[in-house]
């Protein structure tokens, strides 16, 4: 009994669910491809044909292309739903490329992705139509299984199903049940493959080519590199200013006080003592400033304890209870470690500043070559990464390492900031004292 039960469950999980999902996907793809692809193809051809006619197509073609990109964007999203991710291959729009301008036309025409989109429209309509089978087959099977042919045969006396068309007697009407099962199960089994084939085929046209991928990557690297260089320069500038106006100025004053005290030592010991006391005070201030500065550059606890310990220390310094859960079998490269630390620190600072939360949590783990960090709270939510500069800065800094940040923060909370950084872990740091202990 139990064995039957579990095999039924296995059947449901392995066949029924993916089959049913693929059937729905097939229907959606078929409708989308059949309706839009054909219409878009017609529009594209007409607009291209109208280029010699007073240059109408010259303005019209970019508009049609925008429409094509919109619709194919939907198909790409559907593909992602089907488990085949498709990146967007288009070149970025130049700043002053208004509709109707030569620049706009040139941008559209010069982009090979435009022509690959165009090439996809007709084949896409055909294989899209084939995807209809993914839906129609199981649906037809369901009709037979649910005895619809039998009922119709008995009521209107003329109906056909499967191989019996029309049905001549009650036996043939009953035969719709096994046939229905055959169509249903066969359909559900075939549906995922149909959808997969279509999406794979679509991939030839709709995903970026190797060259386009590289171009996209270069563009992204250019942006993040510029950001990184800017941030670095600004950081150095800030450190320079802090040192110049802070510790350095205090040391100058310190030297003056000590020098003066040395001169006064013989004649006015009381004044000399006062100056020395001042000097001591100033040196203490300088130390405090230097300590803060060092913390901002590379927190000592990060150097001493690694990322896990540093984040733990961070959580202790926050005026609300923070649960820390770190699962790192090794340590990331120093640069990544530092970026991760400051990202978590910023997210945590946001929690204390804006969320009004009573408690928060930090989770950190390394999965599939990525350092995954999440900072959550039970506050009022409504955090917007694009509104404040804090989280936007985190996103920029993580981008330098190909890292990402996402925020979920519905009004009323809870807020969760998830950050990912691709990196390898080096072997666990060996504590010098644990080896000999």
């Amino acid at each position: 009994m139990g064995a039957v039960h579990s095999s039924v469950r296995l059947f449901a999980r392995q066949w029924l669910r993916p089959g049913a999902i693929a059937a729905v996907q097939g229907l959606a793809l078929a409708l989308l491809c059949l309706t839009t692809n054909v219409a878009l193809f017609a529009l594209s051809v007409v607009s291209l044909a109208l280029i010699p006619v007073f240059g109408i197509g010259f303005a019209l073609f970019p508009v049609v292309t925008a429409l094509v990109r919109l619709c194919l964007g939907a198909q790409r999203r559907l593909a992602r739903w089907g488990g085949i991710p498709m990146a967007t291959p288009y070149r970025p729009k130049p700043a002053d490329a208004q509709i109707g301008t030569w620049r706009r036309f040139r941008w559209v025409v010069a982009d090979p992705a435009t022509w690959r989109d165009f090439a996809w429209l007709v084949p896409g309509a055909i294989t899209g139509a084939a995807c209809l089978l993914a839906f129609v087959l199981p649906a037809y099977g369901l009709e037979g299984v649910l005895l619809v042919p039998l009922v119709l045969y008995l009521t209107i006396d003329w109906y056909g199903y499967g191989v019996f068309w029309p049905m001549d007697n009650i036996v043939e009407a009953w035969a719709s049940v096994p046939q229905g099962w055959f169509f249903l199960i066969g359909g559900l089994a075939v549906a995922p493959w149909l959808v997969w084939l279509h999406l794979r085929f679509a991939g030839f046209f709709l995903t970026p080519t190797r060259a386009q991928e590289l171009a996209l990557r270069v563009r992204q690297l250019t942006v993040t590199r510029a950001d990184t260089v800017d941030t670095q320069a600004a950081e150095l500038r800030r450190i320079e200013r802090d040192l110049h106006d802070g510790a350095q100025a205090r040391l100058v004053a310190l030297r003056m006080s000590i020098g003066l005290a040395g001169k006064l030592m013989a004649d006015d010991p009381a004044a000399a003592r006062r100056l020395l006391a001042e000097a001591q005070e100033a040196s203490g201030q300088a130390l405090v400033e230097l300590r803060d500065l060092v913390r901002g550059i590379y927190p000592p606890v990060l150097a001493e304890r690694g990322l896990g310990g540093a984040v733990e220390a961070l959580a202790l310094a926050v005026p609300l209870p923070v649960t820390v859960d770190v699962e790192l079998p090794g340590s990331p490269p120093a640069a990544v470690e530092s970026a991760a630390y400051f990202a978590v620190a910023e997210a945590l600072a946001n929690v204390t500043k804006h969320s009004g939360a009573a408690r928060a949590w930090i989770r950190m783990a390394h999965r599939d070559g990525r350092l995954v960090m999440a900072v959550g709270d039970d506050g009022r939510g409504g955090a917007r990464p694009d509104a404040g500069t804090g989280l936007a800065g985190v996103r920029r800094r993580l981008a330098a390492f190909d890292g990402t940040m996402s925020v979920t923060s519905p009004p009323g909370g809870p807020t969760v900031v998830t950050m990912e950084l691709p990196c390898e872990l080096s072997s666990p740091r060996i504590s010098p004292s644990s080896g000999t202990g």
């Binding site: 203490g284 300590r291 150097a303 001493e304 740091r429 504590s431 004292s433």
Partner: protein, 214 residues
């Protein structure tokens, strides 16, 4: 009183030795790296050790690790830990065995020689010395606490000084009040925090720190 010093910067190591010598301590050994800390402590069993958190060869927290290890091996060995920065995380670890004879100070505090020597003596006597920075961080972090909010400003001041490890007499001197007034404040603090009162300075400080550390 016999002292072992662990500090890698020669300038500071000599300075510490000179200060402690001048105040009648006997520096039996001054080591400069992490691996030699534990052997030195077990060999000399000093009355107190002064240890820097960050030491060679790795320049991580080797000094602190050695101090923690020494205290598991020689329970109650008085250790004063010095650092360029203070972390609540480290304070918590040092206090975790609740044995007393522990100090944790910023290196800056050495410049106030009298206070520093006093701190070394208190640690050697089994007392507790926490850097004011650690204490203020602890107090700031616990402002949300219901019970802590019930304390008056003066009581919070007394609590802070108490957590730094100061005696009733020292607190009275600092706040320009009588010792009797201080012990009254302390009784109020303990009843408001819901902790059993205690006359033992050390247990008292531990209780407060345990409370603040949550």
């Amino acid at each position: 009183m016999r002292v072992v010093i662990a500090e890698d910067l020669a300038l500071l190591r000599d300075g510490l030795t000179r200060i402690l010598d001048a105040f009648g301590f006997q520096v039996v050994e001054a080591v400069a790296d992490g691996p030699s800390v534990l052997p030195a402590l077990t060999r000399h069993r000093p009355d107190v050790a002064v240890v820097d958190v960050r030491l060679p060869p790795t320049f991580t927290d080797e000094g602190l690790q050695a101090a923690l290890q020494a205290r598991t091996r020689l329970p109650g060995l008085p250790i004063l830990v010095l650092s360029q920065h203070v972390e609540q995380l480290y304070a918590r670890e040092l206090l975790s065995d609740r044995a007393g004879g522990v100090g944790y100070l910023l290196k800056d505090r050495v410049s106030n020689v009298d206070q520093f020597v006093d701190a070394v003596r208190r640690v050697a006597a089994g007392g507790m010395v926490m850097d004011p920075d650690v204490v203020s961080q602890l107090l700031a972090r616990n402002t949300g606490g219901q019970r802590l909010a019930e304390l008056t400003a003066r009581e919070r001041e007394v609590l802070g000084l108490m957590a730094e490890g100061r005696s009733n007499a020292a607190i009275a001197g600092r706040l320009f009040v009588t010792e009797k007034a201080v012990s009254k404040h302390i009784n109020n603090i303990f009843s408001k925090l819901g902790m059993p009162p205690s006359d033992d300075d050390n247990r008292r400080v531990l209780a407060v720190l345990a409370y603040l550390n949550g």
